[in-house]
Symmetry: C2
Subunit: 336 residues, 2 copies
């Protein structure tokens, strides 16, 4: 059932977002490529396979522990490309500035953006700037779109998970969401947590060197691990079993989540990747991930199963089982 | 000299915009491709030459005579690609929605967007939606980025104008700007003018079939013909002579400009292209443009000269001459 107006939960990445896409966006815009609903689209130009992806960034506040909207806008799109096994090459950037934005803040964000691009090995090749009146935006919104190149033989997509596959992650979850919340006006609390915002293309390309049996990569951003795995379960028509005891969560993140009434499974990450890999390659991939500085704390968190297709089931620490649904309702507005 | 805060004229496409790019964006983000400052960047992937371009759309109001922000967001980016001689193939779209936006309005815009994409022969392959709180945006902002393919042998860029070249345009100027202004709150006036918003890729590809001596294409959007030609003069280090008597302006646009204190030379267009072509091909290209439904009123409006490099000079109707500078100050906020 459609609501009549846009509500905050339409942007939260969970059920309302998915319904809006299915009911409103798809009927008007859909084509076979868009319908796949992957983090980036795969395009063929003669023998060249490219991936293209876009994201707008509206994070509030624009500066947060461990990053800012400038570096986030680079990492987010580089990572969406990496989730197709694509090496990001070029970015376009669109800025929407609110009248009154301090130029010194803009310079800080741009410097951080340029540095993030150099670190990730991408070039910003096209840019656009618009300005709107005071009160018609919130300081700065950034859109990045990216083009990456996919090596021959690589075939990674949300549709490819197979029963028996292992589910890996490259470290603890929830850092980005909690770091942003910790500095949000009216919600300030003490924590040493910094965002995990980072470019994952290096880690992914290292993994691809040791395995051609990586089936799915997904970055658990808005909506967190729970929503990302629900998407994969639905796209691949498989079930996913998660083990709560194996899911890495920093104690400070756990404590902050407890205080705020959040579940770390639904909190956004900006430097994490869920890896669905064939069982025969899981050990090798895990070993390889741990060699990379962004993967030191990599671990197995679950398996793909043929039971309960479309559903993610959590084995809780105390031996129970519960269904982990998509995020419903708005948990963390403007987290990215 | 830098101002300390972003002002509306930083987004107007004129001198303040150019200074902001040169002083603030370029030092942080620049690389050789971005530094060329063309409507789209040219990228090489093996033997494939692609163009990439991006624009954010913040037009106010979002529905206007002859179009809306949805169709505009398709046309604008398709056209920026066409200005490199690239045939647009794929678009990504990023939506920023304000809480409270009517879903029925969103559906109207999306339908219009889908239709514009089909008409232009492009596929929307990647999309993202964010929602911000009421009062933190203005209904809807849209970013599109596009990827197009450039045929072998085509070399069109702002740097390529040569003395002796003719300057053509495909019809009367100022329709888009006046159409948007006519419906703006507090400024309403009677006019039958509708926006010229249209995809120019078909017209451009027709022109490219009859000439490989088209040196520059530029769509005179924000800042109008005056600003676009100033950019070309500076990029190519040439002078440009414009003849006021030859510049086509509808009488209603002329009247509205008079009333509002605007100069049609600075008013935005969304379906016009400035064509700089070698003298030997000018007749053929002009003839060809007039065969296309978007070029029936095409005409020659000026010449490229070696005198007064970097400057655009207008021969006025009464026989005088004046320098046509870039737009300085804010003429028409949020026109695209």
């Amino acid at each position: 059932m459609k609501t009549e107006r846009i509500q905050m939960d339409h942007g939260a990445g969970g059920r309302a977002s998915h319904d809006l896409v299915a009911d409103t966006f798809m009927p008007a815009l859909a084509n076979p490529i868009l319908r796949e609903l992957n983090d980036s689209a795969l395009l063929n130009f003669q023998d060249v396979r490219l991936a293209i992806s876009t994201d707008s960034y509206v994070v509030d506040p624009i500066f947060f522990p461990g990053g800012d909207i400038g570096s986030l806008a680079v990492h987010g799109t580089v990572n969406d490309l990496a989730m197709r096994g694509a090496q990001a090459r070029y970015l376009s950037v669109g800025f929407i500035l609110e009248e009154g934005l301090e130029i010194s803040d803009l310079e800080k964000l741009l410097t951080s953006m340029g540095q993030a691009a150099r670190e990730a090995g991408v070039q910003i090749v096209a840019a656009d700037t618009k300005v709107v009146e005071r009160g018609k935006a919130d300081r700065i919104f950034i859109n990045t779109a990216g083009v990456g190149i996919i090596a021959p033989g690589v075939d990674i997509a949300g549709q490819n998970a197979k029963p028996g596959d292992f589910v890996l992650i490259n470290g603890p979850v929830g850092d980005h969401g909690i770091a942003v919340l910790s500095t949000r006006e009216g919600l300030s609390f003490q924590t040493d947590i910094v965002s995990d915002s980072a470019p994952l293309n290096g880690l992914v390309s290292d993994m691809l060197e040791v395995s051609r049996n990586i089936h799915v990569l997904r970055d658990p951003t808005r909506g967190g691990v729970a929503t990302a795995l629900n998407e994969v379960a639905k796209q691949s028509r498989v079930g996913i079993e998660l083990e709560e005891a194996k899911l890495p969560v920093r104690s400070e993140v756990d404590a902050a989540c407890e205080m705020l009434g959040l579940d770390p499974l639904y909190v956004a990450n900006e430097g994490k990747v869920l890896v669905v890999v064939a069982p025969e390659d899981a050990d090798q991939v895990l070993h390889n991930m741990r060699q990379h500085q962004l993967g030191r704390e990599s671990c197995v968190i679950g398996r793909i199963v043929s039971e309960h297709p479309d559903r993610v089931v959590l084995q809780t620490g105390i031996g129970g089982r519960r269904i982990v649904d998509m995020l419903s309702g708005e948990q963390l507005p403007r987290i990215c």
